[in-house]
């Protein structure tokens, strides 16, 4: 039988019982639709997490101090609590480690901040002018810290947009206004552009001051809490990480790397970890949706088996007039595949509408990839072949004599 005749036969067979065909197709439509929507949610989440990690800057390495131990070395205050990093370390990294583009030491503190009539408690970061470049900080108003302010320990502050809105009424220009950080007077010189994010680690709820100022007026000592290092390119990240580790071990006079009083984290590692988490999440969502696809497939097989039984005499007649086994297999397989394929196409539309609705109504970031559409088509065709093959084979093996007599 020619392909065009086969398609025509399939069309006639499927339109002969439209309601049944539609209901069977619905199983596949829902299955494919939910797989598409779930993958879109998973991939959207992955993309937004990666974007927020990347917004901290690119090719970044973080150095944090090790754990501080109490008397007798029994009680640990946790990583980052020790006071072992200094601005000296930062300067040494900048001058001695190859492939380092920029270094920004930071001293993070939590302080009470007041402006006339309002107050807030937020993170104060003492840092150097390089920070803006390393951590991708951009200004919407005024300017960032400069070298003179750092050298002369000026009491100037750059506000994150959340801190700004907490301290000043909307519409007022905060640049030039006075605020107090821990009772010390500061002058606002700029406001940064929002990075996005929320909750406990909001990169916008922050106040930047010169590192030297923070050390003198707020912390009262010479230590820093973190060093951000930007590598020249992604390829040199590992080399830079090793270079920093060796340099600091030497500077801190530690011979056993296991006893290092600092840790170096790589942004790529953080992205990779987050990707693993979101991929697992995507796989979980997709496999739940996959179950509905399986149920849809069983529906197809059920319908095809019913069809084969109903059309036993027709199969007998077709064989009597010269249909080969392969003709009969092709006919019934084609019917199953036609159902799943059109179900798959409708499912893609449904999945797209679902993700659109989720994005509009719930604000969930979604992302439909070409991959998930191709996957949906492949899977729906495979389901048609898988669940259609057994009924088709059964039809093709019917004995024409018995099939013609079937009541």
């Amino acid at each position: 039988m020619k392909a065009i005749d086969l398609l025509e036969e399939t069309y006639w067979a499927l339109t002969a019982n439209k309601v049944r065909t539609f209901l069977t197709m619905l199983g596949i439509v829902i299955g494919i639709g939910s797989v598409i929507a779930m993958i879109a949610i998973g991939q959207g989440t992955q993309a937004s997490i990666q974007a927020s990690i990347q917004s901290a800057g690119s090719n970044l390495l973080y150095i944090v101090p090790g754990a501080q131990h109490g008397i007798g070395m029994q009680v640990s205050s946790g990583r980052g609590s020790a006071r072992t990093l200094t601005q000296d370390d930062a300067a040494a990294i900048a001058s001695q480690v190859p492939s380092v583009a920029a270094v920004a030491p930071q001293l993070a503190l939590r302080e009470q901040i007041t402006a006339p009539g309002t107050n807030t408690n937020t993170q104060v970061i003492g840092t150097t002018p390089d920070y803006a470049g390393v951590r991708s900080v951009f200004l919407q108003e005024g300017s960032f810290l400069n070298a003179n302010q750092l050298a002369s320990r000026e009491r100037v502050a750059v506000l994150g947009p959340t801190a700004e809105s907490d301290l000043f009424a909307t519409g007022t220009d905060p640049v030039g206004k006075a605020i107090k950080i821990n009772q010390v007077d500061f002058r606002v010189i700029g406001v940064t552009v929002a990075k996005g994010g929320s909750g406990f680690n909001n990169p916008d709820d922050v106040v930047y001051v010169p590192l030297t100022t923070a050390q003198q007026y707020l912390a009262g000592d010479r230590y820093i809490s973190q060093i951000s290092v930007e590598a020249a390119d992604a390829a040199s990240m590992d080399a830079v990480q090793a270079g920093i580790t060796n340099l600091l071990l030497q500077k801190h006079r530690i011979s056993n790397p296991a006893l290092a009083d600092f840790s170096v984290y790589n942004q790529a590692d953080i992205v990779a970890t987050a990707s693993t988490v979101t991929s697992t999440f995507t796989a979980l969502l997709a496999s739940i949706a996959g179950i509905s696809l399986l149920v849809g497939g069983i529906g197809i097989m059920n319908m095809m088996l019913t069809t084969v039984t109903e059309r036993t005499r027709e199969i007998g007649l077709r064989k009597a007039v010269g249909a080969q086994r392969k003709d009969v297999i092709a006919q019934f397989l084609m019917e199953a595949v036609a159902i799943t394929f059109s179900g798959g196409a409708l499912g893609i539309v449904l999945g797209w509408l679902l993700t659109l609705a989720l994005t509009l109504a719930a604000g969930i970031t979604t992302q439909i990839s070409l991959f998930s559409i191709l996957l949906a088509f492949g899977v729906s065709a495979a389901i048609g072949i898988l669940f259609g093959y057994y009924p088709a084979r059964r039809a093709s093996r019917l004995n024409p004599i018995e099939a013609l007599r079937y009541e």
Binding site: I4, E314, L317, R318, A320, G322, Q324
Partner: protein, 225 residues
């Protein structure tokens, strides 16, 4: 031309073997009109299946147009049915929800004939089966029994077969429409068709030019009518 040489058919069911046909031999020349007659259980259905290449004999030879088809495989038998045999069944066996023209053209789709040509051939077959051309686009379930059987005859004629095998073609029809169907066979035979009619009714068998009587799997008489 058909030639059967001591055809036997044994159905085995566990240890019990049933002889459906016990060494049947006869010859049907092109253009003959033969009725095979016998009571139920005589083996005439088994004989019909072997003649129609739906089944193969346990032993013996069956020459169809000079070819021994008795040991053909399933695929080869399907090809023979496609090219050389036209079936007319008691229950018509038309595709429901399909038009007359689609029903008649069905065997040609398996022969790989292009659609345009298929429909021209099918139209001719419909006319020669004695059905009105107006009925071409009727659905088969809108027709009367007599019309349905003539659609089935048209379908049997469409591949220009060597034999037309009719299995109780009037069994589901009343006497009057049965007569019309039998008249159709007579006319087709006059036009040169080879027709083999299987029946248990003497009145129906009387229409043929030669009658072969079968009983208990063997021929008891073979005479011209």
């Amino acid at each position: 031309m058909i030639e059967l040489k001591s055809i036997t058919k044994i159905y085995s069911n566990g240890d019990i073997s049933t002889y459906a046909l016990k060494g049947i031999s006869f010859r049907i020349k092109d253009g003959e009109y033969v009725a095979i007659m016998g009571p139920s259980g005589s083996g005439k259905s088994t004989l019909m299946h072997i003649l129609g290449c739906l089944d193969t004999p346990t032993s013996g030879q069956y020459f169809l147009d000079g070819k021994d088809v008795s040991s053909f495989s399933e695929e080869e038998l399907a090809d023979i049915r496609k090219e050389k045999i036209g079936f007319v069944f008691q229950a018509f066996n038309l595709l429901p929800r399909a038009t007359v023209i689609r029903n008649v053209a069905l065997p040609l789709t398996y022969a790989g004939v292009p659609k345009e040509k298929r429909f021209t051939i099918a139209e001719k077959a419909v006319v020669s089966a004695g059905l009105d051309e107006d009925h071409l686009h009727y659905y088969s379930n809108q027709l009367s029994g007599g019309q349905m059987q003539r659609v089935a005859i048209a379908r049997a004629l469409v591949n220009n077969p060597s034999i037309l095998l009719a299995d109780e073609p009037t069994g589901n029809l009343d006497t009057k429409t049965g007569e019309i169907v039998l008249d159709t066979f007579k006319r087709l035979n006059n036009e040169g068709r080879t027709i083999v009619l299987i029946t248990h009714e003497p009145d129906v068998a009387m229409h043929a030019k030669r009658i072969i009587h079968i009983k208990d799997g063997g021929i008891i008489s073979d005479e011209s009518n």
